[in-house]
């Protein structure tokens, strides 16, 4: 594609330049490669190339028992492992028709929501980093650290927990954990104000993100985008409310949607602000779940002796920090899954990148990519 500019001096040839962004680049959030065609600084086309982190998750699952799949799910969306464990456990439990005790349900919701806060903190922080603000990133990490400390206390791991098992949990709550979590919430809830002051309502930040990379409602739905990215486009869709699993129907919380306060509905700012609002909502859920948490009960009570689901198949979906995470499991009655398919929300979010970023500048591509909050572990699997 060449354009010819007729100037008085003669004719100047203007050519498009192809830029290879990644897989080694500071802001591709992992090992993503974007082939960007640019006209000056204007992006004309983006092709994402994925697969640099492909670890054959689905094929591995066909060779290990149902319990052994759990650590693999950790490594898919490694920023929100609890939610991945949760989704898988819910799917197999549905397949096997297991009823888990009340206490387990409550702890699962608590850890999943804490993990959602941690994941959104990372998303908010790295988004700030993508548009050039370094300090909010470290503020977010400081607070995320406290959540990781709570998880470490719970199961010994800080990133890949494998905490939620089929029919139960790996460990019961340690002594003093509930109090520590209350302490964390008391500390954390006012902190959101700080992020807002520092980043959300910063004039330069709004200039950089409002009206940029608008993902219209129809486009979002047609691409199958879910989670905060879809809600940023103004669609009120959250599985915790619309298709409640576990005990989410018992809690009071709002589903924030993008309203286009700073620009257009579905711009980068909206997608970003949804996450800030969801952090607050998740904190609310954690507080409610802690209040209702039954103090006694055995978390290993409902663990099946042998995991051998009956013949059949199940598609179960849960709301992770990135959107609808679906597990499609086919069982042929053996202790290993016949087939396991994961529907990754980050994959669908990435697929619309060309749609929403062509015509913007190179700097905006990073803002858009950051606002989609992708995790390559989950895209490549």
């Amino acid at each position: 594609m060449t354009d010819t500019l007729d100037l008085e001096l003669g004719s100047v040839q203007a050519e498009e330049m192809v830029l290879n962004m990644g897989p080694q680049h500071p802001s591709t959030h992992g090992v993503l490669r974007l082939k960007v065609r640019t006209d000056g600084e204007i992006v004309t086309h983006i092709t994402p190339y994925i697969g640099y982190l492909h670890r054959c998750f689905e094929k591995h699952c066909e060779n290990v028992t149902y319990e052994q799949v759990i650590p693999y799910t950790d490594r898919c969306d490694y920023i929100a492992s609890m939610n991945n464990n949760f989704g898988y456990a819910v799917a197999v439990e549905q397949l096997m028709d297991i009823k888990v005790p009340e206490k387990v349900e409550h702890i699962r919701v608590i850890v999943a929501e804490l993990n959602r806060i941690a994941s959104h903190l990372l998303a908010v922080g790295t988004f700030g980093l993508d548009v050039g603000a370094f300090t909010p990133f470290l503020y977010c990490f400081r607070d995320r650290e406290r959540i990781l400390d709570l998880f470490e206390m719970l199961c010994g791991a800080r990133l890949l927990y494998s905490y939620i098992w089929i029919g139960g949990l790996s460990h019961d709550l340690p002594v003093g954990w509930v109090e520590k979590t209350y302490e964390f919430l008391d500390y954390f809830e006012p902190q959101v104000e700080e992020y807002n002051n520092l980043l959300t309502f910063n004039k330069i930040f709004i200039e950089r993100t409002a009206d940029v990379g608008v993902l219209p409602r129809e486009v979002a739905i047609s691409y199958g985008v879910t989670g905060p990215n879809l809600r940023g486009s103004g669609v009120k869709w959250d599985l915790r409310k619309d298709d409640p699993y576990s005990i989410y129907d018992r809690f009071e919380f709002d589903i924030p949607i993008g309203t286009g306060v700073m620009g257009t509905v579905g711009d980068c700012w909206d997608r970003y602000y949804i996450r800030i609002r969801e952090i607050e909502e998740s904190a609310k859920i954690v507080r409610q779940a802690l209040e209702q948490l039954p103090r006694d009960g055995d978390v290993h009570e409902a663990l099946p002796k042998k995991i051998r689901p009956p013949k059949g198949h199940i598609y179960s979906r849960t709301e992770t920090p990135r959107g609808d995470l679906g597990y499609y499991i086919i069982s042929d009655g053996k202790p290993i899954p016949y087939r396991l398919k994961m529907r990754s929300p980050a994959f669908t979010a990435l697929s619309c990148i060309n749609e929403i970023s062509h015509g913007w500048m190179i700097s905006d591509v990073f803002a858009i990519l950051g606002s989609l909050d992708i995790v390559l572990g989950e895209i490549d699997r």
Binding site: M17, L19, H25, P26, S27, E41, G128, L129, D130, V131, G132, A133, F134, T135, L138, Y139, R142, L198, L199, N202, I204, F205, E207, R208, M361, I362, S363, D364, F366
Partner: protein, 361 residues
């Protein structure tokens, strides 16, 4: 300063016997070497300060150590020295497809541009390497030479990110030089001189007996000019929120992506030298340079150094504060700000200062 040394030489018999050319070179070296040392020490201190200040702003500790040995010294005081040592020892990599000559030359041009500008910076009543009668003009002119080095670095690296960085940098520095020059023109209009010392001397005394007679307080237009100049200056130093040419999250490292070791350190040195120059010229033009804030008190040459470095340090602190608070602007937003807001505002400022001078004074 060179003339000062030449006067001394003329009085010492064995030195006076040397040819005048040798005498001049010797005097120039005696002036230049301390300046060079100053640039290096300035960078050492500024990097340490930047690390510690950013750490305090970000709720971290920054570089820390327990003592001598392999630690970075008490409170990490030796961290920058250790880094300098590491940079000297690092392998010097020149990409195979780079334009070797330009690649090697570029860091020096950038460094020289920054280094030469310090020659016209008055540290106190007496310490000033060269008291030109065109001091302000000289600093502004030399400051733009750095762009050539940046373009050379970006072009010769044979890297697309570097090229983008260089293109952005050229556009940015040229756009912000105009409002910077126009806003400092207001000061020159009031002083009637381009000489740095003259500008500072014009700022002695008080306004209404309370405020020091610095140009920032002189009239509303110079007050505005101070902010215009300082912000344009920050834009010229390529620091956040105007760090688009380097933009680590976008352009990897911009125009110096391919540089490593000592060559990279020269970019670093000149960045901090530029920070010092912008703060220094702002302090001279608007904050009274070495003048004491309380007119008539504590205004000896030693105090002059204290006031000058105090003011400069404060402005550098503000620049670091910017860097660790703000996100980065986008190229078109940066250009819009420069050409649509800063340029007209500084033009109006000139008119305003002219009228003020005519009516009030």
């Amino acid at each position: 300063m060179v003339n000062y040394f030449l006067d001394i030489f003329a009085n010492v018999s064995w030195l006076a016997a040397m040819p005048s050319g040798t005498q001049f070179v010797l005097a120039a070296l005696m002036t230049g070497l301390p300046l060079f040392l100053f640039v290096a020490i300035n960078a050492l201190i500024a990097v340490y300060a930047e690390r510690k200040i950013s750490a305090f702003m970000q709720d971290r500790l920054g570089p820390m150590g327990q003592g001598v040995g392999l630690h970075a010294g008490k409170w990490g005081l030796l961290q920058t020295l250790a880094d300098a040592l590491k940079l000297i020892l690092k392998q010097d990599i020149i990409p195979a497809l780079a334009d070797r000559k330009l690649f090697i030359l570029a860091p020096f041009i950038i460094f020289i541009a920054a280094f030469v500008a310090i020659a016209a910076m008055p540290f106190n009543q007496h310490i000033l390497a060269a008291d030109f009668n065109i001091g302000v003009f000289f600093i502004l002119a030399v400051g733009s030479v750095g762009v050539i080095g940046i373009i050379m670095a970006g072009y010769s690296s044979n890297n697309k990110w570097s090229l983008y960085g260089a293109m952005r940098s050229a556009a940015q520095i040229i756009s912000y030089e105009i409002p910077a020059a126009l806003s400092i023109l207001t000061v020159i209009m009031l002083t009637g001189s381009l000489q740095m010392q003259e500008i500072i001397k014009a700022q002695s005394g008080t306004i209404w007996g309370i405020l020091p007679n610095w140009f920032i307080f002189n009239n509303p237009f110079t007050f505005l000019a101070f902010f215009l100049f300082f912000i344009s200056g920050v834009a010229e130093t390529n620091r956040t929120p105007f760090d688009l040419p380097e933009a680590e999250s976008e352009l990897v490292a911009g125009f110096h992506t391919e540089y490593s070791g000592m060559r990279w350190a020269f970019f670093f040195l000149s960045e901090y030298a530029n920070v010092f120059i912008v703060s220094g010229i702002t302090a001279v033009a608007f904050l009274g340079g070495w003048q004491s804030p309380i007119s008539g008190y504590l205004d000896g040459p030693i105090w002059g150094l204290v006031w000058f470095f105090g003011k400069v340090s404060f402005l550098i602190l503000v620049m670091m504060w910017f860097r660790w608070t703000f996100p980065r602007l986008r190229t078109d937003q940066l250009m819009r700000m420069g050409w649509k807001y800063f340029l007209p505002a500084s033009l109006v400022n000139i008119l305003g200062v002219g009228l003020w001078d005519l009516v009030v004074n």
